[in-house]
Amino acid sequence: MHRPSAQEFLQALLETLDDLPTDLARRFEEILKNGGADRSQALRQLFEEFAGD
């Protein structure tokens, strides 16, 4: 049984979602790569950033 990493899982998911902001997948990847205890904060900021003005 293939056990995907969190990154692979998320990547596969994002590919199925239409009309996502450009570059969102790459930014997710950066956050997952950097790790850190405040990952949820980084994710929140990412969503806010892509919400635009």
């Binding site: 049984m1 056990r3 995907p4 990493s5 969190a6 899982f9 998320l10 596969a12 998911l13 994002l14 199925t16 979602l17 902001p21 997952l32 205890a37 990952r39 949820s40 904060q41 994710l43 929140r44 969503f47 806010e48 892509f50 919400a51 635009g52 003005d53």
Partner: protein, 786 residues
């Protein structure tokens, strides 16, 4: 790990070597109930059924495999039991170790202290290989959330689950921010609406244009003009003198918009109920537990010490406690999630209400208007309760809200009384217009902020929902695979019973539950309709199905006394299932049930059989596969090191075991003894039985070995007599060495020179053979004359 020859289980995982790793040899030294060394030979990775009464030491095999492949023995992981990995009988010359030989790369040797890093087990830690009777129904008895957690770990999806939790935290935070932004917008809308209700760009612009026209001011074309400071200065041009009067009007207008914070008593009661529960008391430790888990996973901890406080602690038990606590924390956290938001919002509203009224009070003071002091509100206390998970005082909040309502009324009355009686001058009206424009500006900024928060939330919700759904779909698919196999195995164990459609099903977003159809009704969980033995069958079916579905490397399965609650019929069915349904795997089955042992042996003739006959404090477990040669070799080694006493003790044991096996094989007539006492027969008694048998059936052989037997009898009284070794006239090393050679000579008499197995080992004594069949009893050259 002990010694330079250590080999550790390979860290790297190879998906090509699927489920092929089988145990070929297990060597235990000074481990649990084994004082010296014990070897179990599994051939090329053959299945084996191991029988022994309670207390004969057979579970030591399960303990050794569990220790080697998981780094710990679960039931010894509790405080005060860890030392029992070592030989339990006291001092032993051997260094505690377990050595495994496999047909792959997982073999090696582990000793105490076990210094293998956590990563050692990465390749195999998700593999299922051990099921014990005492923990048989552990998985079945877990809660839905615990089952989910356990499955997620077995499936290797915990990193995915961690990310889901982080996405959920981010989503929840955005929900709060969005809610706060919308509340701000509502406040401005209420101020701007002035009772008309509808507030939009168009209506606000139309009102402003109407006011401007009435005042003879150029009306703004768009709301962008209104927020432009230069337009405001040019069009309105308000003076400081007018501002004072206008401020009072503005203050009165603001007081009119005041409304007390809303408080739903039911939310408070719900919070108090949860905050008073035992589980909620775990939550303050949540971040500590998560940090501990993170440290464990990253391996950045000092082995043997708590990563948080630095105290000495058992690594395995701490890991288990962290996992259990995390599950409890998660359930408590979920219960609190909804009510927490309501209380947090109430705290925010109370604080906002207090600050707003304080601001009005201060502004009124600068205008010479004396308003009553603002009542103290319990928002800080509420925050403390939120942080400390303490119950809130509902009466205090109700009373505070009532006080706010009174203050609003009296402030409004006072402000109206002191407001200028005369109608506003044009300048006053202009300043009011300026104030209105500022409010419009603030409202539009709040709208933008709320819209942005809403978009961020929408994106987060979308990603999170899709993530959670995909995770659930993937797990559901995996559960379907397991369920099909569980149902097959269960039906094999319980054919023709009205229990159908056994399955493992997802339960809400974060739970997993076992289910079964019972006379047309779906039972989830099945505890209400299944007997203990049926639940145990379900546990065995689940264990076998999960191992089949998910194991990638470990090709052996170990079942330790799992049939205790089964009747004879079901024991038979399980034996058949194991023998016929899992032939591609290596099964190691331990049991104290002789009929089950016999049944399995008959059904699976290719399996190896091992019987544990007894256990003694001095010599540990005894099996039907005696190892006289190994014991002799160890005795020689002790003698070479000058330890004559120990060498003599080992030599005596070797002689005992040799004579016991020969007497057993020859069916030598010995006085009746019950149970394990047969293993404790003395050498003199055994020699008597041997001589009597040989005299009847192989007289010439007896004559040929009689001198050897007499010498050995003398050895037992002197060179091999442990008591004599303590005396002044103790024998020297040469006497013991001579005795060792005589024991080896006797052993040769009964051994096949070709295959080295003992002649007459098991079976009918009238047609005795060695394993290869080339040596017979009685030996042809020593046949008794007719």
């Amino acid at each position: 790990m002990a010694g330079p020859t250590d080999r550790r289980p390979s860290v790297s995982s190879s998906r090509n070597s699927l489920v092929t790793e089988k145990v070929q040899r297990l060597v235990m030294r000074a481990f649990r109930g084994i004082p010296g060394e014990m070897t179990v030979d599994f051939g090329k990775g053959d299945s084996m059924v191991i029988y022994g009464d309670n207390g004969t030491g057979k579970s030591t095999i399960a303990d050794a495999l569990e220790w080697y492949f998981t780094g710990g023995i679960d039931f010894l992981s509790h405080e005060g039991r860890q030392h029992a990995v070592r030989y339990v009988g006291g001092e032993s010359d051997e260094v505690t170790s377990v050595e495994i030989v496999t047909n792959g790369t997982l073999g090696g040797r582990v000793g105490i202290p076990d210094e293998r890093p956590v990563e050692t087990f990465d390749a195999i830690r998700r593999e299922t290989f051990l099921l014990r009777g005492r923990t048989l129904a552990d998985f079945i008895n877990k809660t839905k959330t615990e089952k989910w957690k356990a499955l997620v770990e077995i499936l290797g999806l915990d990193a995915i689950e961690d990310l889901r939790e982080d996405l959920q935290r981010a989503r929840n935070e955005l929900r709060k921010l969005s809610k706060a932004a919308e509340e701000e917008v509502r406040t401005y809308r209420r101020a701007l609406a002035s009772g008309s209700g509808d507030v939009s760009d168009e209506t606000v612009l139309a009102s402003l244009q109407q006011i401007c026209s009435a005042l003879g001011v150029d009306p703004p074309e768009t709301l962008e003009h209104v927020v432009d400071p230069s337009w405001l200065t040019t069009a309105v041009g308000a003076s400081a003198v007018v501002a004072e009067g206008s401020d009072r009007e503005s203050l009165l207008a603001e007081i009119k918009t005041l409304s007390p914070p809303a408080f739903d008593k039911r939310a408070g009661e719900a919070w108090n109920q949860i905050a008073s529960s035992d589980r909620a008391k775990l939550l303050p430790r949540a971040s500590l537990v998560r940090e501990a888990k993170r440290l464990f996973e990253t391996g950045s901890i000092d082995k043997g010490h708590c990563p948080l406080c630095g105290q000495k602690v058992d690594h395995k038990s701490l890991a288990k406690r962290i996992e259990g606590t995390l599950v409890d924390v998660m359930e408590a956290s979920r219960g609190l999630e909804d009510v927490r938001d309501a209380i947090a919002q109430l705290s925010d509203e109370l604080e906002s209400a207090y600050r707003r009224r304080l601001s009005i009070l201060n502004r009124a003071g600068t205008m010479g208007l004396e308003l009553p002091p603002v009542p103290e509100l319990p928002h800080a206390r509420l925050r403390d309760c939120l942080e400390n998970l303490a119950p809130i005082t509902i009466d205090a909040i109700t009373s505070a809200v009532s006080e706010v309502r009174k203050w609003d009324r009296s402030a409004g009355t006072l402000a109206r009384k002191t407001a200028p009686a005369e109608p506003s001058t044009r300048d006053t009206q202009l300043v009011m217009l300026a104030g209105l424009c500022q409010q419009v500006n603030a409202w539009r900024l709040a709208e933008k902020k709320a819209a942005r928060a809403g978009r961020a939330l929408e994106l987060a919700e979308r990603v999170f929902d899709a993530y959670q759904n995909k995770q659930k779909e993937d797990l559901t698919e995996l559960l379907k695979q397991i369920s099909r196999r569980v149902a097959q195995i269960y039906a094999t164990l319980h054919p023709g019973e009205d229990l159908e459609a056994v399955s493992v099903e997802p339960w809400t977003a974060k739970g997993v539950e076992l289910a079964i159809d019972f006379h047309g009704s779906r039972q989830r969980p099945p505890h209400g309709v299944l007997s203990e033995s049926h639940l145990n069958s379900l546990a065995i079916a689940l264990f076998l199905a999960m191992a089949e579905t998910f194991n990638q490397r470990i090709g052996f399965l170990l079942l330790d006394d799992v049939i205790n609650s089964f009747d004879v019929e079901h024991r038979g069915r399980l034996a058949e299932l194991l023998a016929d349904g899992f032939s591609e795997r290596q099964l190691i089955v331990l049991t104290h049930d002789q009929p089950f042992f016999e049944h399995l042996s008959r059904r699976a003739p290719a399996w190896r059989r091992l019987e544990f006959t007894s256990w003694s404090h001095a010599s540990g477990p005894r099996t039907t596969l005696y190892e006289t040669r190994d014991i002799l070799q160890h005795a020689r080694e002790r003698l070479d090191r000058g330890d004559i006493h120990d060498a003599a003790a080992r030599a005596r044991r070797a002689l005992e075991e040799l004579l016991q096996e020969v007497c057993e094989a020859l069916w030598a007539p010995l006085p009746f003894r019950r149970g394990q006492a047969n293993d404790k027969r003395e050498i003199g008694e055994l020699l008597k039985g041997l001589r009597r048998t040989l005299k009847e059936r192989a007289k010439l052989q007896l004559e040929s070995i009689e001198p050897l037997l007499k010498n050995l009898e003398a050895d037992v009284g002197a060179a091999l007599n442990v008591a004599v070794h303590a005396s002044r006239d103790r024998p020297g090393g040469s006497d013991v060495r001579a005795a060792l050679e005589r024991i080896a000579a006797l052993d040769d008499t009964w051994s096949c020179p070709e295959c080295r197995t003992r002649v007459w080992h098991r079976g009918n004594p009238d047609a005795g053979r060695c394993k290869c069949g080339k040596s017979t009893f009685p030996p042809v050259r020593l046949l008794t004359a007719p």
